[in-house]
Symmetry: C2
Subunit: 211 residues, 2 copies
Amino acid sequence: MKHISIDVIETWARFYRANFINCLSGFKSANLIGTVNKSGQPNLAVFSSVVHLGSDPALIGFINRPLAAAPHTIQNIEATGVYTINHINPSFVEKAHQTSAKYPVEVNEFEAVDLQPLFIDNIIAPFVQESLIKYSLELVEIVPIKHNNTFLVIGAITNVLIHETLIGEDGFISLEKAESMVSLGLDAYFTTKIKARYGYAKPDLPIKKII
Amino acid sequence: MKHISIDVIETWARFYRANFINCLSGFKSANLIGTVNKSGQPNLAVFSSVVHLGSDPALIGFINRPLAAAPHTIQNIEATGVYTINHINPSFVEKAHQTSAKYPVEVNEFEAVDLQPLFIDNIIAPFVQESLIKYSLELVEIVPIKHNNTFLVIGAITNVLIHETLIGEDGFISLEKAESMVSLGLDAYFTTKIKARYGYAKPDLPIKKII
Protein backbone atom coordinates (compact mmCIF):
# COMPACT_ATOMS: atom_id res chain seq x y z
CA MET A 1 0.00 0.00 0.00
CA LYS A 2 1.09 3.51 -0.69
CA HIS A 3 1.57 5.80 2.30
CA ILE A 4 0.65 9.40 1.46
CA SER A 5 1.25 12.07 4.09
CA ILE A 6 -0.69 15.32 4.30
CA ASP A 7 2.48 17.23 3.39
CA VAL A 8 2.34 15.57 -0.03
CA ILE A 9 -1.44 16.04 -0.40
CA GLU A 10 -1.02 19.76 0.27
CA THR A 11 1.23 20.07 -2.80
CA TRP A 12 -1.45 18.63 -5.12
CA ALA A 13 -3.47 20.80 -7.52
CA ARG A 14 -6.77 22.04 -6.07
CA PHE A 15 -9.16 19.93 -8.14
CA TYR A 16 -7.12 16.71 -7.85
CA ARG A 17 -6.93 17.14 -4.07
CA ALA A 18 -10.66 17.96 -3.81
CA ASN A 19 -11.54 14.78 -5.74
CA PHE A 20 -9.21 12.68 -3.60
CA ILE A 21 -10.29 14.01 -0.18
CA ASN A 22 -13.98 13.98 -1.11
CA CYS A 23 -13.67 10.31 -2.13
CA LEU A 24 -11.57 9.34 0.88
CA SER A 25 -14.35 10.20 3.30
CA GLY A 26 -16.51 7.63 1.53
CA PHE A 27 -19.89 7.27 -0.08
CA LYS A 28 -22.59 9.75 0.96
CA SER A 29 -26.34 9.88 0.54
CA ALA A 30 -27.38 12.03 -2.43
CA ASN A 31 -30.10 14.55 -1.59
CA LEU A 32 -31.76 17.68 -2.88
CA ILE A 33 -32.56 20.37 -0.31
CA GLY A 34 -35.58 22.55 -1.06
CA THR A 35 -36.08 25.99 0.48
CA VAL A 36 -37.81 29.32 -0.13
CA ASN A 37 -36.65 32.82 0.68
CA LYS A 38 -38.81 35.29 2.61
CA SER A 39 -40.66 36.26 -0.60
CA GLY A 40 -41.50 32.64 -1.36
CA GLN A 41 -38.91 32.25 -4.18
CA PRO A 42 -37.90 28.56 -4.30
CA ASN A 43 -34.34 27.25 -4.27
CA LEU A 44 -33.14 23.70 -4.84
CA ALA A 45 -29.60 22.41 -4.37
CA VAL A 46 -27.81 19.05 -4.27
CA PHE A 47 -26.09 18.09 -1.00
CA SER A 48 -23.98 15.05 -0.15
CA SER A 49 -23.34 15.76 3.51
CA VAL A 50 -26.53 14.68 5.27
CA VAL A 51 -25.74 12.98 8.58
CA HIS A 52 -27.93 11.17 11.10
CA LEU A 53 -27.79 12.85 14.51
CA GLY A 54 -30.41 10.93 16.45
CA SER A 55 -33.78 9.20 16.35
CA ASP A 56 -35.37 10.58 19.50
CA PRO A 57 -35.68 13.47 18.95
CA ALA A 58 -35.42 12.85 15.20
CA LEU A 59 -32.53 15.16 14.27
CA ILE A 60 -30.69 15.32 10.95
CA GLY A 61 -27.65 17.42 10.14
CA PHE A 62 -26.00 18.59 6.95
CA ILE A 63 -22.88 20.57 6.21
CA ASN A 64 -23.28 23.83 4.33
CA ARG A 65 -20.14 25.12 2.62
CA PRO A 66 -18.82 28.62 3.37
CA LEU A 67 -21.26 31.47 2.68
CA ALA A 68 -19.17 32.81 -0.19
CA ALA A 69 -19.44 29.44 -2.01
CA ALA A 70 -23.01 28.41 -1.17
CA PRO A 71 -25.16 31.16 0.34
CA HIS A 72 -28.71 30.47 -0.86
CA THR A 73 -29.81 27.32 0.96
CA ILE A 74 -28.50 28.34 4.38
CA GLN A 75 -29.77 31.91 4.09
CA ASN A 76 -33.25 30.67 3.17
CA ILE A 77 -33.23 28.22 6.09
CA GLU A 78 -32.14 30.96 8.45
CA ALA A 79 -34.86 33.27 7.12
CA THR A 80 -37.76 30.79 7.17
CA GLY A 81 -36.74 27.99 9.56
CA VAL A 82 -38.09 25.32 7.18
CA TYR A 83 -36.57 23.04 4.51
CA THR A 84 -37.07 19.71 2.78
CA ILE A 85 -34.60 16.88 2.09
CA ASN A 86 -35.40 14.74 -0.96
CA HIS A 87 -33.65 11.48 -1.89
CA ILE A 88 -32.23 11.45 -5.42
CA ASN A 89 -33.37 8.61 -7.71
CA PRO A 90 -31.84 7.56 -11.06
CA SER A 91 -34.78 8.98 -13.07
CA PHE A 92 -33.73 12.56 -12.25
CA VAL A 93 -30.10 12.33 -11.15
CA GLU A 94 -28.85 14.47 -14.07
CA LYS A 95 -31.30 17.22 -13.18
CA ALA A 96 -30.28 16.92 -9.54
CA HIS A 97 -26.59 17.31 -10.38
CA GLN A 98 -27.39 20.32 -12.56
CA THR A 99 -28.68 22.17 -9.45
CA SER A 100 -25.01 22.40 -8.38
CA ALA A 101 -24.48 25.06 -11.05
CA LYS A 102 -24.07 28.56 -9.63
CA TYR A 103 -27.41 30.02 -10.68
CA PRO A 104 -28.07 33.65 -9.74
CA VAL A 105 -30.19 34.08 -6.60
CA GLU A 106 -33.30 35.08 -8.62
CA VAL A 107 -33.33 31.80 -10.57
CA ASN A 108 -35.71 29.07 -9.41
CA GLU A 109 -33.71 25.86 -9.85
CA PHE A 110 -36.91 23.79 -10.11
CA GLU A 111 -37.63 25.65 -13.37
CA ALA A 112 -34.01 25.80 -14.49
CA VAL A 113 -33.49 22.02 -14.28
CA ASP A 114 -37.11 20.98 -14.90
CA LEU A 115 -38.12 19.34 -11.61
CA GLN A 116 -41.59 19.73 -10.09
CA PRO A 117 -42.00 21.52 -6.75
CA LEU A 118 -44.59 19.98 -4.44
CA PHE A 119 -46.17 22.06 -1.70
CA ILE A 120 -48.28 20.33 0.95
CA ASP A 121 -50.31 21.56 3.87
CA ASN A 122 -48.72 24.52 5.57
CA ILE A 123 -45.10 23.58 4.82
CA ILE A 124 -43.67 26.58 3.01
CA ALA A 125 -40.58 24.82 1.61
CA PRO A 126 -41.03 22.83 -1.62
CA PHE A 127 -40.56 19.07 -1.83
CA VAL A 128 -39.34 17.49 -5.07
CA GLN A 129 -42.37 15.80 -6.65
CA GLU A 130 -40.20 13.21 -8.47
CA SER A 131 -38.39 12.03 -5.31
CA LEU A 132 -39.64 8.74 -3.84
CA ILE A 133 -38.59 9.49 -0.24
CA LYS A 134 -38.61 12.99 1.22
CA TYR A 135 -39.09 14.81 4.49
CA SER A 136 -39.46 18.29 5.88
CA LEU A 137 -37.50 19.76 8.75
CA GLU A 138 -37.66 22.66 11.14
CA LEU A 139 -34.37 24.43 11.84
CA VAL A 140 -32.99 23.67 15.31
CA GLU A 141 -29.55 25.28 15.21
CA ILE A 142 -26.83 26.40 12.81
CA VAL A 143 -23.44 25.52 14.29
CA PRO A 144 -20.55 27.45 12.70
CA ILE A 145 -17.41 25.35 12.15
CA LYS A 146 -14.69 27.92 12.60
CA HIS A 147 -11.83 25.88 11.11
CA ASN A 148 -13.07 26.21 7.53
CA ASN A 149 -16.12 28.52 7.71
CA THR A 150 -18.60 25.72 7.02
CA PHE A 151 -21.77 25.16 9.06
CA LEU A 152 -23.49 22.17 10.61
CA VAL A 153 -27.19 22.81 10.04
CA ILE A 154 -29.31 20.84 12.51
CA GLY A 155 -32.99 20.20 11.81
CA ALA A 156 -35.84 18.30 13.43
CA ILE A 157 -37.94 16.09 11.14
CA THR A 158 -41.54 17.28 10.96
CA ASN A 159 -43.13 15.32 8.08
CA VAL A 160 -42.23 12.34 5.89
CA LEU A 161 -43.57 11.49 2.43
CA ILE A 162 -42.92 7.89 1.41
CA HIS A 163 -44.55 4.94 -0.33
CA GLU A 164 -45.77 2.61 2.41
CA THR A 165 -44.58 -0.46 0.52
CA LEU A 166 -40.97 0.64 1.12
CA ILE A 167 -41.29 0.34 4.91
CA GLY A 168 -40.51 -3.09 6.40
CA GLU A 169 -42.25 -4.60 9.39
CA ASP A 170 -39.40 -3.49 11.69
CA GLY A 171 -39.32 0.09 10.37
CA PHE A 172 -36.39 -0.55 7.99
CA ILE A 173 -36.81 1.36 4.70
CA SER A 174 -35.72 -0.39 1.52
CA LEU A 175 -33.65 2.36 -0.07
CA GLU A 176 -32.30 -0.22 -2.50
CA LYS A 177 -35.83 -0.83 -3.82
CA ALA A 178 -36.49 2.92 -3.91
CA GLU A 179 -33.15 3.33 -5.73
CA SER A 180 -32.11 6.16 -3.43
CA MET A 181 -28.67 7.05 -4.74
CA VAL A 182 -25.31 7.50 -3.11
CA SER A 183 -22.79 10.05 -4.30
CA LEU A 184 -19.02 10.01 -4.26
CA GLY A 185 -16.52 12.78 -4.64
CA LEU A 186 -17.69 15.84 -6.53
CA ASP A 187 -19.61 14.28 -9.39
CA ALA A 188 -20.28 10.52 -9.17
CA TYR A 189 -23.58 8.78 -8.43
CA PHE A 190 -24.20 5.12 -7.59
CA THR A 191 -26.98 2.68 -6.88
CA THR A 192 -26.59 -0.01 -4.22
CA LYS A 193 -26.89 -3.75 -3.76
CA ILE A 194 -27.52 -5.32 -0.36
CA LYS A 195 -24.86 -7.57 1.12
CA ALA A 196 -26.52 -8.40 4.44
CA ARG A 197 -28.38 -7.26 7.51
CA TYR A 198 -27.01 -8.48 10.82
CA GLY A 199 -28.64 -8.96 14.21
CA TYR A 200 -27.93 -6.68 17.17
CA ALA A 201 -24.33 -7.52 18.14
CA LYS A 202 -23.56 -8.82 21.64
CA PRO A 203 -20.09 -9.50 23.10
CA ASP A 204 -20.73 -13.16 23.89
CA LEU A 205 -22.64 -14.18 20.74
CA PRO A 206 -21.50 -14.84 17.17
CA ILE A 207 -22.82 -12.43 14.55
CA LYS A 208 -26.13 -13.45 13.03
CA LYS A 209 -27.15 -12.68 9.46
CA ILE A 210 -30.83 -11.73 9.37
CA ILE A 211 -31.08 -11.08 5.60
CA MET B 1 -47.56 8.58 -1.08
CA LYS B 2 -48.16 8.28 2.59
CA HIS B 3 -47.76 11.45 4.67
CA ILE B 4 -46.42 10.65 8.14
CA SER B 5 -46.13 13.49 10.65
CA ILE B 6 -43.66 13.57 13.53
CA ASP B 7 -46.57 13.30 15.98
CA VAL B 8 -47.24 9.81 14.60
CA ILE B 9 -43.55 8.84 14.50
CA GLU B 10 -43.24 9.78 18.17
CA THR B 11 -45.84 7.16 19.08
CA TRP B 12 -43.84 4.34 17.44
CA ALA B 13 -41.89 1.75 19.43
CA ARG B 14 -38.24 2.70 20.02
CA PHE B 15 -36.59 0.14 17.75
CA TYR B 16 -39.07 0.60 14.88
CA ARG B 17 -38.59 4.37 15.02
CA ALA B 18 -34.77 4.05 15.21
CA ASN B 19 -34.76 1.83 12.11
CA PHE B 20 -37.04 4.21 10.24
CA ILE B 21 -35.23 7.46 11.09
CA ASN B 22 -31.78 5.93 10.56
CA CYS B 23 -32.86 4.78 7.09
CA LEU B 24 -34.61 8.04 6.21
CA SER B 25 -31.37 10.01 6.44
CA GLY B 26 -30.00 7.75 3.70
CA PHE B 27 -27.00 5.58 2.95
CA LYS B 28 -23.80 6.28 4.88
CA SER B 29 -20.18 5.26 4.45
CA ALA B 30 -19.29 2.27 6.64
CA ASN B 31 -16.09 2.78 8.63
CA LEU B 32 -14.15 1.40 11.57
CA ILE B 33 -12.52 3.94 13.88
CA GLY B 34 -9.33 2.81 15.62
CA THR B 35 -8.02 4.43 18.80
CA VAL B 36 -5.88 3.72 21.86
CA ASN B 37 -6.30 4.90 25.40
CA LYS B 38 -3.47 6.57 27.35
CA SER B 39 -2.01 3.16 28.27
CA GLY B 40 -1.94 2.06 24.63
CA GLN B 41 -4.95 -0.29 24.90
CA PRO B 42 -6.57 -0.44 21.42
CA ASN B 43 -10.25 0.12 20.69
CA LEU B 44 -12.10 -0.44 17.43
CA ALA B 45 -15.69 0.55 16.67
CA VAL B 46 -17.98 0.76 13.65
CA PHE B 47 -19.30 4.22 12.70
CA SER B 48 -21.72 5.25 9.97
CA SER B 49 -21.66 9.00 10.48
CA VAL B 50 -18.46 10.15 8.77
CA VAL B 51 -19.00 13.43 6.94
CA HIS B 52 -16.78 15.44 4.62
CA LEU B 53 -16.09 18.93 6.01
CA GLY B 54 -13.56 20.29 3.56
CA SER B 55 -10.59 19.51 1.33
CA ASP B 56 -8.31 22.43 2.18
CA PRO B 57 -7.62 22.00 5.02
CA ALA B 58 -8.58 18.32 4.76
CA LEU B 59 -11.13 18.02 7.56
CA ILE B 60 -13.42 15.06 8.28
CA GLY B 61 -16.15 14.90 10.90
CA PHE B 62 -18.04 12.09 12.55
CA ILE B 63 -20.88 11.99 15.04
CA ASN B 64 -20.24 10.26 18.35
CA ARG B 65 -23.34 9.17 20.24
CA PRO B 66 -23.92 10.33 23.83
CA LEU B 67 -21.19 9.38 26.32
CA ALA B 68 -23.45 6.99 28.20
CA ALA B 69 -24.04 4.98 24.99
CA ALA B 70 -20.59 5.14 23.35
CA PRO B 71 -17.81 6.41 25.61
CA HIS B 72 -14.65 4.59 24.47
CA THR B 73 -13.82 6.04 21.05
CA ILE B 74 -14.39 9.67 21.98
CA GLN B 75 -12.60 9.37 25.32
CA ASN B 76 -9.56 7.82 23.62
CA ILE B 77 -9.54 10.55 20.98
CA GLU B 78 -9.76 13.20 23.67
CA ALA B 79 -6.93 11.56 25.61
CA THR B 80 -4.53 10.99 22.70
CA GLY B 81 -5.62 13.37 19.92
CA VAL B 82 -5.15 10.65 17.29
CA TYR B 83 -7.40 8.16 15.48
CA THR B 84 -7.77 6.20 12.27
CA ILE B 85 -10.73 5.77 9.93
CA ASN B 86 -10.80 2.52 7.94
CA HIS B 87 -13.20 1.71 5.08
CA ILE B 88 -15.14 -1.51 5.56
CA ASN B 89 -14.86 -4.12 2.78
CA PRO B 90 -17.06 -7.23 2.25
CA SER B 91 -14.27 -9.62 3.36
CA PHE B 92 -14.56 -8.44 6.98
CA VAL B 93 -17.96 -6.76 7.22
CA GLU B 94 -19.28 -9.31 9.76
CA LYS B 95 -16.29 -8.69 12.03
CA ALA B 96 -16.75 -4.95 11.57
CA HIS B 97 -20.42 -5.13 12.61
CA GLN B 98 -19.47 -7.25 15.63
CA THR B 99 -17.42 -4.31 17.00
CA SER B 100 -20.78 -2.63 17.70
CA ALA B 101 -21.27 -5.05 20.62
CA LYS B 102 -20.88 -3.37 24.01
CA TYR B 103 -17.54 -4.88 25.01
CA PRO B 104 -16.14 -3.87 28.41
CA VAL B 105 -13.52 -1.11 28.25
CA GLU B 106 -10.65 -3.56 28.89
CA VAL B 107 -11.46 -5.66 25.82
CA ASN B 108 -9.41 -5.07 22.68
CA GLU B 109 -11.97 -5.34 19.86
CA PHE B 110 -9.26 -6.27 17.35
CA GLU B 111 -8.75 -9.49 19.34
CA ALA B 112 -12.42 -9.97 20.15
CA VAL B 113 -13.53 -9.89 16.50
CA ASP B 114 -10.28 -11.16 14.95
CA LEU B 115 -9.05 -8.19 12.91
CA GLN B 116 -5.37 -7.25 12.63
CA PRO B 117 -4.16 -3.93 14.06
CA LEU B 118 -1.52 -2.17 11.96
CA PHE B 119 0.80 0.37 13.54
CA ILE B 120 2.97 2.53 11.29
CA ASP B 121 5.62 5.14 11.93
CA ASN B 122 4.83 7.22 14.98
CA ILE B 123 1.03 7.07 14.66
CA ILE B 124 -0.13 5.68 18.00
CA ALA B 125 -3.66 4.72 16.85
CA PRO B 126 -4.06 1.36 15.08
CA PHE B 127 -5.19 1.01 11.47
CA VAL B 128 -7.15 -2.05 10.37
CA GLN B 129 -4.74 -4.19 8.34
CA GLU B 130 -7.56 -5.76 6.28
CA SER B 131 -9.03 -2.42 5.16
CA LEU B 132 -8.14 -1.36 1.60
CA ILE B 133 -8.46 2.40 2.22
CA LYS B 134 -7.62 4.02 5.54
CA TYR B 135 -6.35 7.26 6.99
CA SER B 136 -5.18 8.75 10.25
CA LEU B 137 -6.39 12.00 11.78
CA GLU B 138 -5.38 14.48 14.39
CA LEU B 139 -8.16 15.82 16.61
CA VAL B 140 -9.08 19.42 15.78
CA GLU B 141 -12.19 19.99 17.90
CA ILE B 142 -15.01 18.15 19.63
CA VAL B 143 -18.23 20.14 19.18
CA PRO B 144 -20.97 19.15 21.66
CA ILE B 145 -24.46 19.02 20.13
CA LYS B 146 -26.59 20.07 23.06
CA HIS B 147 -29.96 18.97 21.63
CA ASN B 148 -29.26 15.25 22.04
CA ASN B 149 -25.88 15.05 23.81
CA THR B 150 -24.04 13.81 20.73
CA PHE B 151 -20.74 15.24 19.51
CA LEU B 152 -19.33 16.31 16.17
CA VAL B 153 -15.71 15.16 16.27
CA ILE B 154 -13.58 17.13 13.79
CA GLY B 155 -10.23 15.78 12.65
CA ALA B 156 -7.52 16.80 10.19
CA ILE B 157 -6.20 14.08 7.88
CA THR B 158 -2.52 13.36 8.51
CA ASN B 159 -1.76 10.15 6.57
CA VAL B 160 -3.48 7.97 3.96
CA LEU B 161 -2.87 4.29 3.18
CA ILE B 162 -4.27 3.21 -0.17
CA HIS B 163 -3.44 1.05 -3.20
CA GLU B 164 -2.23 3.41 -5.90
CA THR B 165 -4.20 1.57 -8.59
CA LEU B 166 -7.43 2.85 -6.97
CA ILE B 167 -6.57 6.51 -7.65
CA GLY B 168 -7.67 7.92 -11.01
CA GLU B 169 -5.76 10.49 -13.01
CA ASP B 170 -7.98 13.29 -11.67
CA GLY B 171 -7.68 12.21 -8.01
CA PHE B 172 -11.01 10.32 -7.99
CA ILE B 173 -10.80 7.12 -5.92
CA SER B 174 -12.65 4.08 -7.21
CA LEU B 175 -14.45 3.01 -4.04
CA GLU B 176 -16.58 0.70 -6.19
CA LYS B 177 -13.46 -1.22 -7.24
CA ALA B 178 -12.20 -1.21 -3.62
CA GLU B 179 -15.65 -2.42 -2.56
CA SER B 180 -15.83 0.16 0.21
CA MET B 181 -19.22 -0.51 1.73
CA VAL B 182 -22.17 1.69 2.56
CA SER B 183 -24.38 1.10 5.56
CA LEU B 184 -28.05 1.76 6.10
CA GLY B 185 -30.07 1.97 9.27
CA LEU B 186 -28.73 0.07 12.25
CA ASP B 187 -27.56 -3.15 10.65
CA ALA B 188 -27.51 -3.26 6.82
CA TYR B 189 -24.47 -3.17 4.53
CA PHE B 190 -24.36 -2.64 0.76
CA THR B 191 -21.96 -2.55 -2.15
CA THR B 192 -22.38 0.00 -4.94
CA LYS B 193 -22.64 0.18 -8.70
CA ILE B 194 -21.75 3.35 -10.61
CA LYS B 195 -24.49 5.13 -12.53
CA ALA B 196 -22.48 8.06 -13.88
CA ARG B 197 -20.00 10.85 -13.31
CA TYR B 198 -21.02 14.26 -14.57
CA GLY B 199 -18.99 17.30 -15.57
CA TYR B 200 -18.84 20.46 -13.46
CA ALA B 201 -22.33 21.97 -13.79
CA LYS B 202 -22.75 25.47 -15.22
CA PRO B 203 -26.00 27.46 -15.47
CA ASP B 204 -25.92 27.92 -19.24
CA LEU B 205 -24.70 24.46 -20.29
CA PRO B 206 -26.48 21.09 -20.47
CA ILE B 207 -25.20 18.43 -18.09
CA LYS B 208 -22.38 16.30 -19.52
CA LYS B 209 -21.81 12.66 -18.61
CA ILE B 210 -18.07 11.99 -18.24
CA ILE B 211 -18.30 8.28 -17.33
